[in-house]
């Protein structure tokens, strides 16, 4: 009762001017809704990107050449073999060569990127075969003229027909399709549009490039670490091994770049966090504007109720009684705005989640608590000056006002 009483009286005076209270609250509503909605969407997008990176293969490590200006390509099949032979806790290593080919089959004629690699590629990139099978180490060793198609490539060439067992022509050779991969969708490094060939066969009809040491150039090396916990150690050991193999001087930069899925995820996550904070900051500005609206209306309210303040003072109200009354009203206004804003923010996030299927917005309890606290805080902060002004009114002047 003791605490309820002033609350009730503040509530009554908020209700006394319904439209005005609503409009004042609207600023806070929009601000809080924007903060909640944008943060939820940002967080959802962040999770989506991380999930798509992790779908690459949770323990994937990719090595790519980093050639300086005019530098010769350095990464080689022999590097891949050395890693496989010398580095512990590595499950599979797949050297990768890329080339663009014209592909003809089933009366269709397309340009596709073919990838020459070893069976380890399947595991390293976390791929699955939809029909048929992937080629074996034996296929690689004997340069078998076989191909595994990405989902889109299979569809472009054969439509709904099963491509397994069909023949395609590429680079003057006739190649038999032995498998089709499951689609990966919009994921990073999706092989949906590729044709995957045994590395040795691929080399037969692409230009051979050699490193300065006379080794066979590859475009990248993908490997799978036995467990994510070994990832930093494996990366360090590979760095030492490759520097030694490439005969780099101690003060020379690496001529390769090693990226693990963890690194990529961390980088993307950081980029998204910055984005989310940025969105939140923009939303916070609208919250600030809303707070100024509350202050404005409280100042008007103090002016309007000067006489009431005078009467209360004559009846013995202390300054504390007066400012707590106005502060409570301001806090109540903005808390209401905060509550409605949280609901609206949820709604916005849910709506976006419904229409944009890639993103599942995430409203965390922390954000809700933060928004509620901030909106009360804004009420108190922007209500403070008007309330203070009210409490300092001279009772004689205030009683004379009309």
């Amino acid at each position: 009762m003791r605490f309820l009483d002033p609350l009730l009286s503040a509530w009554r005076s908020v209700l006394a001017h319904k439209l005005r209270s609503f409009l004042t609250t609207l600023g806070i509503v929009i601000g809080v809704a924007a903060v909640i909605g944008l943060l939820a969407i940002g967080r959802g997008a962040q999770n989506e990107i991380i999930a798509s990176i992790e779908s690459l293969g949770a323990n994937l490590v990719q090595i790519t050449p980093r050639t300086g200006a005019g530098g010769a390509p350095t990464l080689s099949v022999e590097d891949a073999r050395a890693i496989e032979g010398q580095i512990a806790n590595v499950k599979t290593v797949a050297p990768v060569v890329r080339a663009t080919h014209q592909v003809v089959a089933n009366g269709q004629d397309i340009i596709a990127v073919s990838i020459g690699t070893t069976p380890g590629y399947l595991l390293a990139y976390n791929l699955e075969v939809a029909s048929g099978s992937f080629f074996s180490d034996y296929d690689v060793a004997r340069s078998a003229r076989v191909a595994v198609l990405g989902a889109n490539t299979a569809n472009d060439l054969f439509g709904d027909a099963n491509p397994v067992g069909q023949e395609i022509k590429m680079g003057g050779a006739v190649v038999r399709v032995i498998g089709v991969l499951k689609p990966k969708g919009a994921a990073i490094m999706s092989p949906d549009d590729n044709i995957i060939l045994p590395l040795a066969f691929m080399r037969q009809f692409t230009t051979q490039q050699r490193t300065p040491q006379g080794e066979h150039v590859v475009h990248s090396i993908a490997l799978s670490v036995a467990d994510a916990q070994y990832s930093p150690q494996v990366v360090a050991e590979i760095t030492d091994l490759l520097r030694e193999r490439h005969r780099l001087l101690p003060d020379a930069d690496d001529d390769f770049r090693i990226l693990s899925t963890d690194d990529i995820a961390a980088q993307a996550s950081e980029a998204m966090s910055i984005m989310t904070v940025f969105l939140g900051a923009i939303a916070a500005i609208s919250l600030l504007v809303g707070g100024i609206g509350v202050m404005n209306i409280m100042l008007v309210s103090v002016l309007e109720r000067t006489r009431e303040i005078g009467i209360r003072k004559a009846l013995g109200a202390r300054e504390r009684d007066i400012w707590s009354q106005f502060l409570l009203e301001a806090a109540l206004l903005s808390l209401n705005g905060g509550a409605i804003g949280i609901a609206l923010g949820y709604g916005i996030a849910a709506t976006v989640g419904y229409f944009v299927q890639e993103i599942t917005p995430i409203v965390t309890p922390e954000v809700v608590v933060l928004a509620a606290t901030v909106s009360i805080g804004i009420g108190l902060f922007f209500g403070f000056y008007p309330a203070w002004q009210a409490s300092r009114l001279n009772p004689i002047d205030a009683l004379r006002a009309d």
Partner: protein, 222 residues
Amino acid sequence: MIQLEVITKTYPMGKRELTVLHGVTFHIAPGEMVAIMGPSGSGKSTTLNVLGCLDQPTSGRYYLDGRDVSRLNRRELARVRAHKIGFIFQSYNLLPRMSALDNVTLGLKYAGIRDRSLAREALARVGLADRESHRPAEMSGGEQQRVAIARALAKKPPVILADEPTGNLDSRSSEEIMGILTTLHKEQGNTLVMITHEQEMASYCQRVIHLKDGKVLREERP
């Protein structure tokens, strides 16, 4: 109960100063009913503001209930107003959005009294027991002033200050209000100081203090 000792009050008016009270001195005994009269500009409103602890004298001493209240800070003044003084204004000064009962309760609230039955009792004593839930706009001037009297009396303060309590009322309501005031004054035994410029109202009082040009001109007992 009330002792004013050579009270002066000076207001700054731009660069010059305006002195409204030039050393007002009078004493009022506990339970006395006193009228202060004087033409406009005689300083009677300022005197009442000082008596009501709404304003502080520039110099001089004011003893209320044995305590010097002429040098208190704003917080202490608010406490004195809450516990020692009940105001009745010419224009009633009820809060328009509150019922009669809530208005009377408000007077109790700032005195730290949370017992609403005292408010009901006070309304009953001014004959408005059946108007508790009415708002000021739904009542006549006389009824509103009775609510204001109930508000001033409910907390049983030692001093009641009335600023032309019948100034806005017709003669019938005026008589009614003065009747209530004198009756309650007799029953409750508090000190009542009333400003008026009507001789007829002053005649209800035991003593009349005449002010002129910020000084006590004379006193009389009607």
